[in-house]
Each structure stands twice: as C-alpha cells, then as structure tokens.
Symmetry: C2
Subunit: 397 residues, 2 copies
C-alpha cells in the first residue's frame, strides 16, 4: 500500500521547484545550433541592410522629379551615373540606391529608350527603398536569452555575419533499468520469467529526442546494494532515471534506496497509469523513478522526466502537440487520478479527427501505446468523457 | 508580370501528383531508428509475454480453491512447489504462474505464516494472470508499413527481440542559392550591394530537420549557364531547391532555365508572401524555386518543399503543430492569395494564448519571422480576421 497518493500537479510542482537550470554553455557554429537554447542575448553588431537597398527592379529617382507624372503624362528623365535633379539611375532588387535618389520607380511604370527614361507614375519619397537597418538595427536584440533557435533564427544570425553562438549545455541523463526478470536485448532466447529490457531503451530514446545526452546503464537486479552502486555511479550526471522496482512489493527497493541516499520527495502519484512513480533528490541531483510497467513508465517520463529535463536544460515551455478530435466512444477514468487514456486517431474527412479509445487492459501492455496516436488526459475531478465530445489529444512523440 | 497566378492548393496538388515515393530502404539498428519510416510491415515472431505471467505480487492458486473466501472467512492453503488442489505458490509481478494455477491472489489479500497462506478473498479464474501473447501475439502486425517509428514503437520491437529494422531512405536534397549580391558567410566585410547568404543555410537546416539529407551548393551568380551547370550537378539527388532569381525581373533566370531543362509546372503562386515561387520537373526530379526574399522563401519551403520531401520520403501526413489563440488586432489579407501572417504569441493566463500580428513590412524582412512564433494562414476568399477572433496559429519549426 502507498502511504499517501500525491496529487499529480502537486507532485510535479514540488519536483520542478527543487531543480536548478544548468549554468554552463557551449559555443557552437550556427549551422549546428538548430533546436538549441540561446545561452545569452544576441545583439546585432551591424545594420541589415547596411546600405540603402532597392526593393524593386527599376530606376532610382528624386521623388520630387516624378511630380505630376501619370499614365498619359510621363515625366522624362536622363539616365546617368549620379542621380540628381532630372537624372535617374538603373537599380535592381537588392542593389544600392545611389546617393541623391530617395525613391525607386518600378520597371513596369517606365519606358526606357536610349539614355532617356519615361516615368509614368508619381511616387513619394522612400518608395521602394529599404532603409539602412530596415530588417535589423545595429545594437538591437535579435535573440533573447533562453530562446530555442530555429532555422529562421539562425538565418538572421547568418545575415549579421555571426558564425558561432553560445547555447545552453544539454543535460546529461543516466538511465538505470532494474529488474531481475530483465534480459539484455542481444540475448537470443528467453526463459519463462524473463523479458527483454525495453523501458531503459525507451527512456533513452525519449530523452535524446527531448534534448538530453544519455548514458544507459546495464541492467541492475533487484538488490538494494546494486541499485545504490548504480545510482552512485550516476551522480556525475544532471538527472537520473531509474526504471522498475518502484512499487510497494517485496522486491521494490528503489524508493527506499533513493530515500536512504538523499530525500524521497514523492512516492505514489495520482496519475493513472503511473501511480507507483517516485521522485527524489540525491546530492542536489534529481531522480525520477519510473514504474516498470511500460505504459506507466511512459506516463512518468512525460509527466516528470521531460519537464525536469527542460527546466535543467533551460528549454522554454512549449505547447503540446495537440489535435482536437471527436471521441468515438465514452471513456471512464479513475476519480482522484489524472488519467492518460490511449486513443487512436482516424480522419474520416480531411482535417477532422475521430479519437478511438483503445480497449486497454493494464499498464503492462506496451503495444497499447504503440497502437495509440496520443493520450486524452482526464483530470482528477472528472469521471470520464462522453462519446461525441470534442477532446484534446496530446500526440505521443 | 506573371502570366498567371496559380491557386496555392492547386499548385501544390499539381506538384505532389508528379512525385513518386522513393522505393529503397536501409537496415538500421532499432536504437537508431527513432523518427524514421518503417519500410515494411513488421510481424511479431514471438508471443509477449511468452509465458503466463503474474500481474501482481502474491500467490498463484486454483481459483476454485478460493470459493467462499472473504474478509472474515479465509480459506487456508498450503504453500508448495506445484500448485494443485489445496496448494498455492509464491509469485511476484512478472514471474511465471506455475502450471496448475489459474489465478493470482494479491499479497494484500493474504496472510502468510509458516507454510500456510490464509486467502481473504474469492477470485475468478484468470484474475491477475497475464496470458501468453496478452501484449503481442506471434504473427500479429506490430508496425504497419509507412509508420513513423517512435520510442514507444521501438520498445515494442525490442520486446520481440528485434534488433534491426528496415526504414525508408532519407531523400537527398540539393540546395542551390543564387544571386550576384550574395556573399559566403565566412567573408568578413560586406560592400554596398552585398549581403550574406542566408536562404540556402535556412533551407538546409529546415530540410535536415524535416528528414532530408542535404547538399548545400556554393553560391551561383545570376547567369543562366552557371545556374544550368549547378542544376545539372544536382540531378543525382531526389529534390532540388533553388533560392533566388525566381521573379520576373531582368536577372531572374531560374524559372526559364528550369523550363529549358525540363518542365516548368508552376510560376507565380497565389500565396503571400511567396508569389514568385516556381515548380518544375527535370528528368523526373522535382525542383522547388523559392523566392530570394527570405519570408517568401520560408513560405515556399513550408508550402512546397516540405510536403514534397515527405511524399518522396514516404513520411505520413502529420497534423501541424497548432495553437489556438485570440487575435489581439485585426489582420488584413490579400484576396486571391493564401496569406501567411506572422504572429507572436503571448500567454496572459496559463494555457490561453493571444496572437499579436507583427507589423510587418515586406517579404524581405527576415527578422519578422525570427520574431514570430507562428503563422495565421488566411485563405484566398477571406479578406482578413477580426480582433478578438479565435485563430489557429501554425507554429514555425
């Protein structure tokens, strides 16, 4: 029996409050910085453009020279090198606007013969001229500290001649699969009572996907001394994830070992599946204990490990990848538990979704996650959702 | 002037219809297959579990032996090696259920002393027993062809002892930046009329992010022969992206060169920004011509290059990453053009979003994308959206 089941939001807040973002950074060539977090504000060291640039192919003019020009009453200008009263200059998109000119007439509004240009429209000053600093001004903040860099941001850095960028370090994450029933995946045959290790692999892949650097420990058997040894060896990382041995059975030593080495903040959480999750801190290092049941494990990864990783890694909160769908059948949930119901999505019409709840049995059925596209998350104080209701489906990464 | 502006959806359909998915595959260790596309159906070669497994810590029994047991009237069983009438066996979660037993009584419903076990509850057959194949049955399809593999899918493969998986090849994409004003990024100083090359870099990063293997060509000047040479050198790839030179100005040679080498399917599209986009096919190889103006360029990447990459790479359609937000100010759009309006998101309250349109000038202002979190896409037949309306914001990758 769990002594106390802690509310899911409360447990997460308690955990996140105990975490401090990493302070280090690394310097990367901008080409390799996609998806990384800017570790400092980036200030433009130059104007973009750094010269007055033509926004159109056409002729640079003094706008005042076009006064009165119209479709039937063109103004005639000389084509010259230096633009001055009565003289215009050829420009194309992106080329510098000559000194003396203050506007550009589009090619389409002109007729050119010999060294003379007929202008068929009256334009105002600054028309079709990109001023210095129009895109980015020298001294301007182009990237805020903590921003996640996207290709379009990196293009801005490139436009400023910036070659390297300071980004937040990726958190290092140790993953420790435990369980005497587990067998390494390269072993060919299984005896009764044995299963291939999968939770550690799954955690490893999710953490890498979410931005961490992983170190996957060998399988540890259900032995407190061995578990302690494995945790000790992982204390040089920034986050420790232990899979299995988190419940209240005879062989569930993990929470007690974590408590003996540091502080067990949470054991027993109001999430379903995922109740036997536990959270601790050892020497300032956060520890997520994910249940050995794989579906419960993935919920613990989503609920605790991902936000912890992101807080440590200075990754800004991002909206979930959500799809709105009509629920095909009612789903029931466990009052007092935040319930993660697996659903499959169908698209009967382009752009419209139906969510089909998977007739899932227990938290032990890994294939039920693999068959699911996402979760419908039902809060503690709700008993379920009805068929036909619109629900938000959180897509599984 | 563009001869004809093609409707955005029509242009995209025309393009995608001309593309054939790549047929090759590569064999990868499952650990490296996250995000990749299964190139074949994957069938379970074994049952999971492959033995009857206990779902709880407790005692394996013959359910019939618990008949009449209750809180005040326990049934007494002997603890033994072989379960038979009157004899039960110790099990823990995941361990094999001994032959002869057909159910497991939870530890919490028992009291154990010496070699005798008191059972305080009556249970039915199969209770707390995971049958063979309960998770995955031998012969079952666990992964459909064309499915994008996620860590939870890979965990299922691992549970089946599968070590390698056939995945679709990543498309190879050549990116050719053109423009005589462009300067390679390592060059330190810019003269008037010069800008650093950024569109090619941006396309390169987006294509890599979206699952392609890129080859970024050196900058090509505005010279039809040089452009042709660059395209020719790229015909060994699966998709060619050319940036710049796509409009109808004097130096815009790209569409004509593409047309001369193959077929120009589209030139001039009803998207804003992005009108000067062009699409062609050369020797069966798709060519996306993205406008040199960076904001128009990114729209062309999203609208044409990404779906083309995904069709070639056999990537299933995925919902956009969308956030619903209340529009803070009205936005106007260009009738007849599918308009991509850049917006910044604010979160006045947790979970609620406000979309602030960016007071953007032209398609040439790269920093306006960098300042934006996403696009509000307004269809051709709508004039705009009002302040206070709920809109869908497509987040920029």
């Amino acid at each position: 029996m769990f002594k106390k089941i802690m509310n899911a939001d409360h447990a997460r807040e308690l955990f996140l409050k105990a975490l401090a973002p990493l302070t280090g950074y690394e310097l990367l060539p901008i080409e390799e910085s996609d998806g990384r977090i800017a570790a400092e504000e980036i200030i433009a060291g130059m104007d973009v453009p750094h010269y007055r640039r033509a926004a159109m192919d056409g002729f640079a003019v003094r706008a005042s020279d076009t006064l009165g020009a119209g479709g039937n009453s063109p103004v005639m200008l000389k084509l010259g090198k230096n633009v001055e009263k009565g003289v215009c200059g050829r420009v194309h998109t992106g080329s510098p606007v000559p000194e003396g000119a203050d506007a550009v007439v589009m090619l389409e509004d002109t007729v050119f013969h010999d060294s003379m240009v007929e202008i068929f429209t009256q334009i105002h000053p600054f028309k079709n001229v990109g001023e210095i600093g129009e895109d980015v001004q020298k001294g301007e903040t182009v990237i805020e500290e903590g921003h996640r860099l996207r290709p379009c941001d990196i293009a801005v850095l490139a436009s400023l001649g910036i070659e390297n960028v300071k980004v937040a370090k990726k958190p290092r994450v140790a993953i420790i699969p435990t369980g005497e029933e587990l067998v390494p995946r390269r072993k060919r045959t299984l005896r009764d009572g044995e299963v291939y290790e999968t939770n550690g692999l799954m955690a490893d892949l999710y953490i890498r996907k979410w931005g961490g650097i992983t170190r996957l420990h060998d399988i540890v058997t259900d032995d407190p001394a061995k578990i302690k040894e494995a945790i000790t060896s992982a204390l040089d990382t920034d986050l420790i994830i232990i899979s299995g041995g988190t419940s209240v059975g005879k062989r569930d030593y993990v929470p007690a070992v974590v408590g003996s080495m540091g502080e067990l903040l949470v054991h027993g959480v109001g999430i379903s599946p995922g109740k036997p999750s536990a959270i601790g801190m050892i020497n300032g290092k956060p520890v997520v204990c994910m249940p050995g049941y794989p579906v419960a494990g993935i919920v613990a990864l989503y609920w605790f490990a991902r936000p912890a990783l992101w807080k440590i890694g200075r990754v800004p909160d991002e909206p979930e990848k959500i799809v709105r769908a009509i629920l095909a059948e009612k789903i029931t949930s466990r009052t007092g538990y935040m319930t993660f119901t697996r659903v499959r999505l169908e698209t009967p019409h382009a752009g419209s979704y139906r969510a089909i709840p998977l007739a899932t049995s227990g938290a032990g059925i890994l294939s039920s996650v693999s068959k699911a596209d996402g979760f419908v998350i039902i809060s503690e104080n709700v008993e379920g959702r009805s068929a036909g209701e619109e629900v938000e489906v959180v897509l599984i990464d």
